[in-house]
Amino acid sequence: MSKFLEVTNLNVTFPTQDGEVRASNEVSYSVDLGETLAIVGESGSGKSVSNLAVMGLHNPTRTKITGSAVLNLANGPVDVISASAETVRRLRGKAMSMIFQDPMSALHPFFTIGDQIAEGWHLYNKGSKKDGIKKATEMLEIVGIPDASSRVHDYPHQFSGGMRQRAMIAMALVNNPSLLIADEPTTALDVTVQSQILKLLKDLQKEFNMAIILITHDLGVVAEVADRICVMYGGRIVENGTVDDIFYRPEHPYTLGLLNSVPRISDGQSHRLRAIPGQPPSLISLPSGCAFQPRCEYSSKVTSGACNSTVPSLSDKGSGHLSRCHLDVADLNNLVKDKA
């Protein structure tokens, strides 16, 4: 059975003054209706770029994209990478939709919230301006804006940060899309508002049976909402598995390091944080071999020296849990045990 969105071997490169940036390198993932896939990585890991390609939002004259991203729609599959710009435009908003990190810069300050939500609705539906506002009011009610019928005439500056993000979600969902890509949807928000928004996304997903791709750097957010997780590093997926796979049985040293470097509320404060030494690599000059090798504390244990020379393949070590490391999982687990 094919899933709703299947991204296969997606490469995205852009030329810059300093050289070619390979922001997404042989990236493959899939997500089904009703499922939440989280893409986790630090800044510059390429987590947003591959999804912008799925939405067709890259500059076509500058960006080179290869690979495929197939949407399995009711009336047949469409590869949005090879499809014409016009075809993708007709899918945007209706089949797939996106919300961004900063709700203030993503909303137009000169138009009312209602107008901006109705704009997308008018693209795919016949109706008067009044119908559009009615639909916008309905959407604002769904995303939990109190007193929606009067707030629909407000401008973005009259909304608080959390309300703006709700308005963005209303705008993205106005045509009932099957896929919602949320790029750091709660990073700009306070924790108490963040938990409201995450709950809202979960509830809406159940109600409309949406596929959600959540792009984030926050492992806490991921643990709360994701079904599957892709961990990205240096433009590549380094690990792909279910939430429990990633959090309780991590198979890549980077994932392990990431999990160890976040302080947790639950444990005592006495111990020192186990930071990952060094910095994330630049996508212009990736290290040869495994991109994580310069920061990896286990690379010396790979006797063949392959870490310096060959990029490890993303291999399935059983049950659909993929990881990109030269070390054997059993060996890695033993090394971790020895350290502890």
Partner: protein, 326 residues
Amino acid sequence: MTENILELNNLTKFFPAKAGGIFSRAKGEVRAVDGVSLTVARGETVGLVGESGCGKTTVGRTVMKLYEPTSGQIVFDGQDITNLKRKEMKPIRSKMQMIFQDPFSSLNPRHTVGTIISSSYTIHDIEPEGGVEHSVRELLTLVGLNPEHINRFPHEFSGGQRQRIGIARSLALKPKLIVADEPVSALDVSIQAQVINLLDDLQKELGLSYLFVAHDLSIVQHISDRVVVMYLGKVMEMAPTRELFANPRHPYTKALLSAVPVADPKMGRSRERIILQGDLPSPVNPPSGCVFNTRCWKAQDICRTAVPETIQVTPLQTVACHFPEV
């Protein structure tokens, strides 16, 4: 020598809120900090947490006298600095330094790292032991940077490295107190841990005191000895870290803690969450009575009319609530 390096007594800072236009008149005031009292002991780290707009940054900046306090008292190292003039503040500033949130805007892009760090010496007209360059190199080594990079410019460094430069600058004059305003929130997760460890090490090595302003509770829990929770300009609860996280007494603290996403899926699924309704009210027009009453699930009539007294629930834990948790 007093026991506390810093004492704030009933500190308030109001900003005039202006109506638009050129001939605007003040139409009210933003009560950014409204009666905050707290202490920082020598060698202690006090975490100041709250959501955006709660006044935590204003407290930090008022302590540094970057803002003039509206009323209240600031006692630093046994000296009342509340009403000191700019000139009188100068010698004191060398003993209290600040680390800023954004490592990109807090360093002058036209100055080399050496100039940035040594500016502290120039301003205070100090000739450090062994010469300026020697000291700057030592500082760079201390914060984990290569001393050979003294002539590089900020853009040649990554975010985490720039934050280290900011830390080196703040350490140049051997301060006693460092006000760190969200020092790691602009950094990547794997880099955050490096900077937190650095701050920990420096504290042990140099006996620093930190007033650590942050919104990320897991980081505050990790680094602080005591935590102060603020909401809309007021202190809601104050307690040693362990007590606060194990046994929050204020409903707001409880809600805040339950809202933090935990990087542990099984725990996340099983725990009970309190989701607060609505947003932070405006500090121009705060709710009457307890400022938290509009979002509190325990609010009664008294909460809307009377401002709760700060009560001592244990010798070290205080809470401002009519109906604290038990």
